[in-house]
């Protein structure tokens, strides 16, 4: 970190006052500089690269991001050795900058629906690429608009008159030397978005654009010179990459929420408002119960998601080892779980960031708070790498499958093993959770049980509703669709259980007594707050009584008061540098008002004392009236 902080070339600029074109240019400059510096300092360890990048770019978005991740990754994993020899050195040397062009204007999640075609011409041994309709224009890939000169394009492969499905091709899009688009290529920026101003998300349209046969990525599937198609062996392995990317998003959910909480909690301890006690000075707004109720559950959530992120990363690394040894047993569950957790954490963090912003009153709305930026940068993760509702339904599919296994007498393992308990209950007419349970609302372990019961009840209810629909209708898909609201609820309950479980498990690993005490309170708050927000589920399933629900509400309020004294320390522990936080309201030193004034003076509207609009519009009008 110090390396970057002390380097004058990385001096942090405030992007808030720049136009999109300017922000793009700053981002490119930083990326280019960063690449040079990494070489110069010889930094090669992936973790070090990560920290270095984080410091260089701050919270800034990187137009070269897809080049380093998806483009390079695809070349490494899907190229033959010959292809690797040709492309990888150019990629590492950044002589070619690539992007990954999959999504089309009219097609996202449903990959089979993509329309771009690659037709093999054996006469010239070339593929002819076409965007046959408006809807088939590649749309959204990052770095495509202005930065990249190459793209990996996903297209429907046609050879010998037959469609062989989606395949990946290396396509040059801009002229070396001039950077002009090549003939047959139409490429550009898709225009302003909700955030991501620095990123040139782009469009790409191809008209009879020819590339040599060798530009198809041929590690798995192949097209022979005569046009013969050779099928790939298995495609289950792509699960691994997806799990990895989703685990990154879970980590990002935690980090973004941590940043937002840091800003809101520090500001709330500096801002004074109204009076609690007549005659006394205005109190810190963090002393208001309503303010604590907005922020502390989010703080607890931030810590909870931090655990989940760490767990996902660890599990991914463990399972990668297994996969390399050919053991794919755990992969389906992890794949299903990662989908749901990605959706669960990103939805929650998304709403939480906005809550933090609104908890900062009017000033939260100013870009100087940094919160609008955190929000717009984070919120697309609810959609990219798998739309959240679709993700929840993927998890649901796995849950229903596991439920069906249990119903047919098999045992299931892993996070869904609680479904095994259902088998003993099945003969009884009443609901699973109707058995007597004594939930202890001060015991995290007991709360994990409560969440488990809720999940199993909702999974069972969804599975039964699905079964009922199936007996009434012919189509599987139709029945599934008519149950999907129930299924999403079941997935959410499952994910919620997993998060409470992981957070609780984390407590036992803390040795420091004081830290343990405060983390226990956070963990309890997380679990109890979640119950208070879903009391209906717990009441309806008979997991909690009315009296217990009232106790839960009461306990939540007591915990708010208990956490209050440590609130600032708990966000300081996230250890964000002021540059990285990018917020006047969230400054470590709390000197917000002077710095807001300094910041505002830089506004483009303040460049001249009298704005040109006065001369152009106001003065003439006043003369006329």
């Amino acid at each position: 970190e110090a390396l970057v902080l002390n380097d004058p070339e990385f001096q942090h600029e405030d992007l808030n006052f720049l136009s999109r074109s300017q922000r793009y240019e700053v981002a490119i400059r930083k990326s280019a500089l960063m690449v040079m510096k990494l070489r110069e300092y010889g930094i090669a360890d992936p973790d070090e690269i990560y920290w270095f990048k984080r410091m260089c770019l701050g919270s800034c978005v990187e137009p070269l991001g897809l080049h380093f991740s998806m483009f390079t990754n695809a070349l490494q994993n899907q190229c033959t050795v010959t292809q690797q020899d040709k492309w990888l050195p150019l990629t590492y040397g950044l002589q070619i900058i690539g992007t990954y062009a999959q999504t089309e204007m009219g097609h996202g999640t449903h990959l089979r629906g993509l329309e771009t075609t690659a037709t093999y011409d054996p006469a010239t041994q070339e593929f002819i690429l076409n965007s046959p309709t408006v809807t088939s224009i590649k749309w959204w890939p990052g770095g495509l608009g202005k930065t990249s000169n190459y793209a990996i394009v996903l297209a429907q492969l046609y050879t010998q008159g037959q469609c062989k499905g989606l395949h990946a091709f290396i396509v040059p899009i801009r002229q070396m030397g001039t950077h002009e688009p090549l003939p047959g290529i139409t490429v550009g920026d898709i225009g302003p978005k909700f955030g991501y101003d620095e990123m040139d998300n782009g469009y790409l349209k191809m008209d009879n654009f020819r590339i040599p046969r060798e530009n198809m990525l041929m590690k798995y599937a192949k097209v022979e010179p005569d046009g013969t198609y050779v099928k790939p062996l298995s495609d289950k392995l792509t699960y691994g990459t997806m799990v990895f990317i989703r685990s990154l998003i879970v980590g990002d959910s935690a980090r973004s929420l941590c940043r937002a909480c840091t800003i809101a909690i520090r500001y709330s301890s500096v801002r004074h408002q109204s009076e609690l006690t007549p005659g006394e000075p205005e109190p810190q707004i963090l002393d208001y119960q309503t303010q604590q109720y907005k922020l502390f559950p989010l703080l607890a959530t931030a810590y909870a998601f931090h655990c989940v992120g760490a767990y996902m990363k660890k599990t991914y690394h463990r399972i990668t080892g297994d996969i390399n040894q050919g053991n794919l047993r755990e992969l389906p569950e992890l794949h299903a779980l990662s989908a749901g957790l990605k959706a669960f954490t990103s939805w929650t963090a998304n709403a939480g960031i906005e809550e933090c912003r609104m908890a900062c009153g009017g000033h939260g709305y100013s870009r100087c708070s940094g919160l609008p930026d955190i929000y717009v940068t984070f919120t697309p993760s609810c959609t990219y790498e798998g739309e959240n509702t679709v993700m929840m339904l993927q998890t649901a599919r796995f849950l229903v499958k596991s439920y069906t296994q249990v119903s047919s007498g098999q045992l299931v393992s892993g996070m869904v093993s609680y479904l095994n308990d259902l088998s003993g209950q099945r003969i009884q007419p009443q609901q699973v959770a109707a058995r007597p349970t004594a939930v202890l609302i001060n015991d995290p372990a007991s709360l994990v049980e409560a969440y488990k019961l809720r999940a199993s009840r909702l999974v069972e209810a969804a599975a039964k509703n699905l079964q009922a629909e199936l007996t009434r209708r012919k189509s599987q898909e139709d029945s599934w669709n008519r149950t999907s609201v129930d299924l999403v609820r079941a997935s959410e309950a499952h994910c919620h259980y997993v998060v409470v479980k992981l957070f609780t498990a984390q407590l036992s690993e803390i040795n420091d007594a004081a830290v343990h005490a405060v983390m226990s309170n956070l963990c309890l708050l997380y679990a109890l707050y979640g119950i208070s927000k879903h009391t209906g589920d717990f009441l309806q399933a008979g997991i909690l009584t009315n009296a217990q629900v009232t106790q839960v509400y009461q306990r939540v309020k007591e915990l708010l008061a208990a956490i209050r004294p440590n609130a600032v320390a708990l966000v300081d522990a996230f250890d964000f540098h002021d540059n990285h936080l990018g917020s006047v309201l969230g400054r470590y030193d709390g000197n917000i008002y002077e710095n807001m004034f300094e910041w505002a003076k830089k506004s483009p509207l303040n460049k001249t004392e009298v704005h040109e609009s006065f001369h152009k519009h106001l003065k003439p009008m006043q003369a006329k009236l």
């Binding site: 074109s21 070619i96 006690t277 906005e354 309020k557 509207l605 704005h611 003065k619």
Partner: protein
């Protein structure tokens, strides 16, 4: 490919060339869209007037929003000033005053995207707080824009809590002047609109000091810029507060005053005055002050907040029948995404909410007009109820609309994030409404305070105003619902909402009472109950909205088809509210677990019923394409063509960036030889 090269930017409202997917939706409407529009407008005459006003705006290129999404803060500010000036010209030409319905439709058509809105607040505050002489002096100047005013209340360190404001105005008997000062940085005026670049004058709220004694907050007219060259007046530091999440067309400003003197006559003196010898005089009640706040809240809901949700629904619903994704049945074409239950569950309850809020707002306007007349005549009886009602409704309606606009944004997949969808603009703008004109949590607590008082009155056997009369009804123990059909009876769900509101309020009030009796100071007890009190106030507002929706539907007897679909929407709104807050309704056993399963089933069935009328229901909001300004939501549904054409206009595609020459080219060197 014929549709490919459409060059017209907006032509869809009159175009016959409609995307067949969208056309099919319109053919099966169960009611007349035109008649529903008339119902929403409060009569076909109003619809005609509104459309005529919109046409005036859309014909004039000055009001074009074509470049809006590509403009910088400076450009947007300039456009807003240009529009305000043109609007003034139009009004003068036609002789319209601010209060004419035509003018209101103008503002609505512009969606508030015009400068000098706070100039109107400036005028209103002089009208409400000034003496007749002050009104005669300042209002004509303001009317003609010879001066532009702003309303400077909020400070950098102080918002809602007015007594905490720090700006001072000290009277000097020897010069007969007030001296205004900003004693420290947290006392700088911060946020007032039109202040940063435009305003020449401001109504400044400051603590009044005479002969060493503080008399509390009072309003003063202060000149802040020269009328000659627009430079700041001596002692005045003024500027723009910088970029925000949206509202970049407004120059929200800061203002620092260092020994700025103004004549004694510049203190607005309808309710209090300082005499030449320094005697402070108070006269009459300044409760009318509340009225300014109420006016502003009622207006913003109608002009900006509720339309934001209606527009977001229009865009998302239209896009959802044009966008196809995956297959519902093997062998068929990809399904419209609105056919997925999960998509219906996101959008259709919002559509019902948009209607519920529209009708609620119509009621509030009526209630408010009646109260306004009484209050102006000196009868303040309805003021507390009006204040409590508008506070709570402002909070819940802005909450609903903000959350709803965001759901619409995310319901449009990736394209929702494109500025060209119009949704980021709608969302970031409406999101501000949760904090301006009163932070929502504070407003809910104001309503709660009123409710607690009313409950005490009920217990004491005193009469209560109509909107809270329900608190005195006795509660039945169990809900008697046995079938899904029972749940479609308005009496049933109205009663469930009523009971819930009543129970949450009683519980909170009892807790408050218990804490006070156990010796806690009242303000400590209050703070410890605020989470519950907010919940109670929300439940109260939700009950009022449901009840009003039911009453509105009942009155639609002349429009059988419209009444039918509105009844479905009302049912959906009510059942969705129960479905989303099951705990509140299950808590005391009023609704049983089995009954709750019926609620869920009934709610899900309604989604499918409303699905078939979804597009006609958004069409009835009758927003022009120019007003929506969305590539995804246009009437003709040519989503993809428009996205592609609009993207070409982005400055990033038209201006040359230095990024390639300066930074990328050096990286690419040497590749030519290897490829």
């Amino acid at each position: 490919m014929a549709q490919w090269n459409r060059s017209g930017y907006f032509r869809s409202s009159v175009s016959r060339d409609v995307n067949p997917d969208l056309e099919a939706e319109r053919r099966t409407a169960s009611f007349s869209v035109e008649r529903l529009t008339a119902v929403l407008d409060g009569g076909a005459d109003n619809t005609r007037t509104r459309r005529a006003m919109e046409a005036v705006i859309h014909r004039d290129p000055v009001f074009s929003r074509e470049k809006q999404y590509f403009q910088s803060q400076n450009e947007r500010y300039e456009a807003a000033v240009r529009k305000a000036v043109r609007l003034k010209e139009k009004m003068l030409q036609r002789g319209w005053t601010e209060n004419r319905p035509e003018t209101k439709y103008f503002y609505r058509a512009l969606g508030g995207d015009v400068a000098f809105n706070v100039h109107r607040v400036f005028k209103n505050s002089i009208l409400a707080l000034g003496t007749d002489e002050q009104i005669a002096k300042w209002i004509p100047l303001a009317e003609k824009y010879h001066i532009i005013g702003t309303y400077a209340q909020t400070e950098l360190g102080h918002g809602t809590f007015l007594r905490g404001l720090e700006t001072t105005a000290t009277f000097d008997t020897s010069t007969q002047e007030f001296t205004l000062n900003t004693p420290r940085i947290s006392a700088m005026k911060w946020w007032p609109g039109d202040l940063g670049r435009s305003a020449t004058h401001a109504v400044v709220f400051a603590q009044l000091y005479v002969k060493g004694e503080c008399y509390g907050l009072h309003p003063f007219i202060v000149q802040i810029r020269s009328l000659r060259d627009h430079l700041p007046a001596p002692g005045v530091t003024v500027g723009d507060i910088g970029p925000k999440m949206n509202f970049e067309h407004i120059d929200n400003g800061y203002l620092m005053l260092q020994s700025v003197t103004i004549p004694r006559e510049n203190m607005l003196g309808r309710f209090s005055q300082v005499l030449p010898d320094g005697t402070y005089m108070k006269r009459g009640s300044d409760k009318i002050n509340y009225l300014t706040m109420i006016v502003t809240r009622v207006e913003m809901l109608w002009v900006e907040v509720i339309p934001a949700l209606q527009k977001a629904c229009t865009i998302a619903v239209r896009y959802s029948v044009v966008r196809r994704q995956s297959k519902l049945n093997p062998g068929e074409a990809e399904a419209k995404i609105l056919d997925y239950q999960t998509q219906q569950q996101k959008l259709l309850p919002l559509l019902a909410t948009a209607y519920a809020l529209h009708f609620m707002n119509a009621y509030v306007n009526k209630f408010y007009s009646k109260g306004y007349t009484e209050i102006r005549e000196g009868n303040f009886d309805s003021l507390p109820e009006l204040h409590a009602l508008t506070s709570g409704l402002k909070a819940i309606i802005t909450d609903y609309c903000t959350a709803g606009a965001e759901v619409c944004l995310r319901a449009c997949g990736g394209h929702g994030y494109s500025a060209l969808s119009g949704l980021p603009f709608l969302y970031t703008k409406v999101a501000a409404s949760c904090t301006y004109e009163g932070d929502n949590t504070v407003l809910f607590l104001q309503t709660a305070r009123y409710l607690v008082k009313c409950l005490a009155a009920v217990h004491a056997g005193q009469p209560t105003p109509p909107s809270v009369a329900y608190l005195s009804l006795t509660n039945s123990r169990k809900c008697w619902v046995r079938t899904e059909a029972d749940l479609l009876k308005p009496d049933i769900y109205a009663e469930a909402y009523r009971r819930r509101a009543s129970r949450l309020l009683s519980t909170a009030a009892a807790k408050l009472q218990a804490l006070i009796q156990s010796g806690a100071e009242e303000y400590v007890a209050w703070n410890r109950c605020t989470v519950q009190l907010v919940q109670a106030a929300k439940a109260h507002c939700q009950y009022i909205i449901v009840k009003n929706f039911i009453d509105t539907v009942e009155k639609l007897t002349n429009e059988a088809e419209i009444q039918k679909i509105m009844k479905h929407l009302c049912d959906l709104f009510a059942l969705h509210g129960i479905f989303s807050n099951t705990g509140d309704f299950l808590h005391d056993g009023y609704i049983s677990g089995d009954q709750m399963d019926l609620v869920t089933a009934s709610y899900l069935d309604l989604l499918a019923v409303i699905r078939s009328d979804a597009v006609p229901l958004v069409d009835a909001f009758d927003f022009t394409d120019e007003n929506l300004n969305s590539a995804l939501g246009s009437y003709d549904g040519h989503v993809y063509q428009r996205l592609y054409e609009w993207a070409q206009k982005s400055p990033t595609n038209q201006q040359v960036s230095q990024a390639y020459e300066s930074y990328l080219k050096p990286l690419f060197q040497g590749a030519l030889s290897k490829l």
